[in-house]
Symmetry: C2
Subunit: 187 residues, 2 copies
DNA sequence: TTATATATATACAGGTCTGTATATAGATTT
DNA sequence: AAATCTATATACAGACCTGTATATATATAA
């Protein structure tokens, strides 16, 4: 991918997270990225396309990071599940944390027919599916049910952290997750 | 309160929830409410003032409704806590449900210095405090900790329902809440 | 009937937004 | 040296936005 294109993606992602998507104009994005609108519209057909690509990139980055962390630290499936929220906490409390793209995007585009909303919803489903596969490998009966509960804790804690940086919500989400996981592992 | 003013509040609340706050112009609001901009700006100094009042109204309506439900159905504090998520589920699955105001608003105004963001954050805190007082009355040790965990489940489930209507997330949130509450009641 | 309060109708100023058109600069390739 | 590709600079059309100014209608009160 072109250097300029990825620069635009990084800048747009940051501005969308810190100022909101609808409140960020393309003029601001190109100014911060040090380029011009002509270039932006060469790589992205419309602003909506840019939003969609920013979301895809962010989600892929997060998923890859998390998956690598889990695989390089644990081999046993049940251990992966147990450590899931440790890494999520690491992610949320890192200074670079700016929030979860698909959570904010779905709020700014509430209409379920909107492509941005649909992608957000799909990414949330994918993440839940990922947790479910971890639970399945750990031989948990109702893997989907546990995955849904854990994803609620996850999204709730991210939401709390987006509202108030340093809320410490993830610490309690982690405790709750442990209780739910332990309960599901030994029923 | 003037009939027109409350009509504007109701219409604005609905439009903000279904189309987003920044995507809803005052022209649309007055058109749907069947009035004019002059009247809107008589009752609300700026659009931001309108947003703040919509949020306040929505939060007060929700809190009153929930509190009345709890008080008229249970006397014992621990029972109130147990039934909390039953009523929340009733609220979320009602056909009128359009999402939680402060969750969407905080996403559209991510800057922590923004008045709308601050009010959202404060309302989230107040709701958590309300759950904490329920937990305290039920003689739970770490009332604040449990309240935070329950509020994470709540906000996560609302978020899930905002992303996909009819997700059924609250059903699982309820189960998880029961486990956490039971664990905290009998430690 | 006259005065007052409330709401409407309409237009507009000044700003921002997305997306495009046009002309030019630099760098690489033929 | 000429041609080609990539990016810049700048201006602008057309739409939408908030908030205000002005004039008018309607209803209640003195």
């Amino acid at each position: 991918m072109s250097l300029l294109k990825s620069k635009i993606l990084v800048v747009a992602s940051d501005l969308f997270q810190t100022r909101g998507i609808n409140s960020t104009g393309v003029d601001t994005i190109v100014a911060v990225a040090g380029t011009t609108k002509m270039t932006l519209y060469k790589y992205f057909r419309t602003k909506e396309d840019l939003i969609l690509e920013v979301l895809k990139q962010g989600h892929q980055d997060f998923q890859s990071w998390l998956n690598d962390k889990l695989n390089s630290n644990s081999k046993k499936p049940s251990e992966k599940l147990q450590k899931l929220f440790d890494f999520i906490e690491e992610w949320v409390t890192s200074p670079n944390f700016r929030g979860m793209g698909f959570i904010k995007a779905s709020a700014e585009f509430p209409n379920e027919e909107n492509p941005v909303h649909q992608l957000s919803s799909e990414q949330s489903r994918q993440f839940r599916q990922y947790i479910s596969s971890l639970a399945s490998e750990a031989n948990i009966q109702d893997a989907d049910g546990l995955a849904l509960q854990l994803s609620l804790l996850f999204e709730g804690a991210v939401q709390a952290e987006q509202m108030k940086r340093g809320s410490g919500a993830m610490k309690y989400a982690k405790k709750a997750a442990k209780i739910l996981i332990d309960g599901a592992l030994a029923p």
